[in-house]
């Protein structure tokens, strides 16, 4: 069994840029799980996630010359992936039709103040991974909850969570003001929690 390459991401990428072709495969393998999961959550479709995954590394290859070696590789990779996913979502925007007869999210769990709905996460009864619920079902529900978020909230939430970025880093990546990142992340977490609560409780929203 071959020894895993212990070089840093940056060293690997610089080696690839210098002509060491196998270094890219090491990077692809290293980021496969994180990136495909991130893209799956972002796009909501495995096929789309795989397309974006390929596009991302293709862009990495094409833009190899522009990579600033003094910066970290991972944020650059995820930024490319997020941009590619955003392009795909924009191309494939399918406006979801919603009949008013269908459940619209149930009642509100928080107080209403000035027309806004407040969510208290302490009241959200999240299903723990160890609980007796089908993991496939849980995954479907998580994806449903994520998919129902607006794309702008979805990308902030996923970038922050998967990349463990600070607000300023997210703002830098998405080219939006810091305050917008903060408010979007708050809204995204609240919306996700509430939607998760709704979907995991069968849509009653309480």
């Amino acid at each position: 069994m071959p020894q895993p390459d212990r070089r840093s991401d940056e060293d690997l990428f610089l080696a690839y840029r210098a002509g060491e072709s196998p270094a890219l495969e090491v990077l692809i393998r290293r980021y496969h799980d994180d990136l495909i999961r991130f893209l799956y959550r972002l796009t909501g479709e495995r096929a789309a996630a795989e397309d974006v995954f390929q596009d991302t590394f293709l862009q990495v290859h094409v833009s190899a010359g522009t990579f600033d070696a003094s910066r970290r590789f991972k944020p650059w990779l995820f930024t490319i992936a997020a941009n590619k996913a955003r392009d795909l979502i924009r191309r494939n925007t399918r406006r979801r039709a919603m009949d008013l007869d269908s459940p619209i999210g149930g009642g509100r769990s928080g107080d209403s103040d000035d027309g806004r709905t407040f969510v208290d996460l302490m009241e959200i009864d999240a299903i723990q991974p160890g609980e007796q619920v089908g993991t496939a079902e849980r995954d479907r529900m998580v994806q449903q909850a994520v998919s129902e978020l607006p794309p702008s909230l979805r990308e902030v939430l996923l970038l922050a969570y998967f990349q463990k970025m600070s607000y300023s880093q997210v703002a830098d990546v998405l080219q939006i003001p810091l305050g917008t990142v903060k408010s979007r992340l708050h809204a995204a977490v609240a919306a996700f929690a509430r939607k998760w609560h709704i979907v995991s409780k069968g849509g009653d929203g309480t």
Binding site: F53, R95, G105, F118, P151, F162, F192, A193
Partner: protein, 408 residues
């Protein structure tokens, strides 16, 4: 943030029609046509929940935009965390989603948020299995696409660096072919061009001598038929000391320049670059050096000198004498050598009657060598090797008025 959900949520066509009818009816559900009334009542009921906020945000509640915003909010898209959760989330983000590092005061909330958000990163066994099964295939496909792109780039660079039809890389046979063609072209054109240049040079040289002859005629007309002369006797110094106007023979010829009998440009011999480049000043009495002297002139230091038109065909001026150019350097001379002005092929010569003739040899039909005085010619004639003459000393003179002896 109120505009965020608009793009992601849309009513079904039936509700859209009902909403349009409701807006047209001033949000009075009872005034909506029967076909849409039931749906319109439900929409109106939903919108009524947000009436207070709607009035605050946008008093024009009739607009479709406001209706859309209200519906989006009714769908539960807009919500915020309670302040305690906001604070906990701030700290959680700050500590890279690790609730253990969050201060104890909000750790419980942060841990709860981490649990909820942990759902994002979790994958079901099914998904994990799908990832595992498709992993190698996806990696292979990705690498393949990258390789294809890299190949395309390399090909593109190869094409871009590959010379086009106009600049195709030269192979040795191509070079040989082109060189051969150039050689053939040059071999055909060069003699033509060279001959043309030579003809024009000779023509210009002939014209120069003819014009100088006109000047000599003018001079002789003013001087009782005498040829141009500045000084008539030597003082023991060679007549080839050009620049020494008291003794040099060239000063005699320069009289035409100094007195304006001939145009200065006529003394620019095409076969003598120094004569072309030098400047002739009428205030001076001679050329600066022997190399600048364009033509060789009959030595004027004989006791009896020829007279203009007297003898008719006698030579008095010709292209530069190669003999004197060698003799000045103390070298053996070749009496039969032609002038360097015409590349050794011959020399133009001006006769006393003003005619210009082309001589292919310095020896005239009479046997007289135009480069040498008769006394030396006689010595040579008696010598075993007639091609070698003793070096001249620069003080020799023509034996008589008919002895042609051209010197600078």
């Amino acid at each position: 943030m109120t505009d965020e959900p608009i793009d992601s949520t849309q009513l079904c066509p039936a509700d859209q029609a009902a909403l349009d009818a409701l807006v047209d009816a001033g949000f009075d559900a009872d005034a909506v046509p029967e076909a849409h009334r039931a749906r319109a009542r439900r929409i109106a009921a939903d919108l009524s929940q947000l009436a207070a906020e709607a009035r605050c945000v946008c008093p024009g509640a009739e607009s479709r935009c406001l209706a859309a915003i209200r519906l989006a909010r009714a769908a539960g898209e807009v919500c915020e965390l309670v302040p305690a959760d906001e604070d906990a989330l701030e700290l959680l983000v700050q500590h890279r989603f690790d609730p253990r590092r969050v201060p104890s005061g909000v750790r419980q909330r942060a841990a709860h948020q981490a649990e909820v958000l942990g759902l994002l990163g979790s994958a079901s066994e099914e998904l994990a299995a799908a990832e595992a099964s498709g992993r190698e295939s996806l990696i292979a496909r990705t690498l393949s696409r990258v390789q294809t792109e890299a190949d395309a780039q390399a090909e593109s660079m190869r094409f871009s660096s590959r010379p086009g039809p106009a600049a195709r890389r030269w192979r040795v046979p191509d070079l040989v072919s082109v060189a051969a063609m150039l050689l053939i072209g040059v071999s055909i054109l060069w003699p033509v061009m060279s001959a043309s240049r030579e003809r024009s040079r000779l023509a210009l040289n002939e014209a120069n001598l003819r014009n100088i002859g006109l000047g000599m005629g003018l001079y002789s007309g003013s001087n009782d038929g005498a040829l141009p002369m500045a000084t008539a006797s030597l003082a023991g110094t060679p007549w080839w000391f050009v620049g020494n106007a008291e003794q040099s023979n060239s000063a005699n010829l320069y009289t035409l320049v100094r007195d304006g009998y001939a145009c200065r440009t006529n003394f620019a011999a095409p076969g003598n670059r120094a004569s072309v480049e030098c400047t002739l000043d009428p205030a001076r009495a001679d050329w600066g050096c022997i190399e600048e002297v364009p033509y060789s002139y009959q030595n004027q230091f004989a006791r009896k000198r020829p007279v203009w038109r007297q003898a008719g065909e006698q030579i008095v001026l010709a292209d530069r004498s190669p003999v004197i150019l060698r003799a000045v350097r103390g070298l053996w001379v070749d009496p039969l050598e032609n002038s360097p002005n015409a590349s050794g092929k011959g020399q133009h010569a001006l006769r006393l009657d003003g005619a210009v003739v082309w001589l292919t040899s310095p020896v005239l039909a009479s046997g007289d060598n135009i480069w040498l005085p008769r006394s030396i010619e006689d010595v040579l004639r008696r010598a075993a090797n007639a091609r070698r003459a003793e070096p001249l000393r620069g003080v020799e003179q023509p034996e008589c008025e008919t002895d042609v002896f051209l010197v600078p």
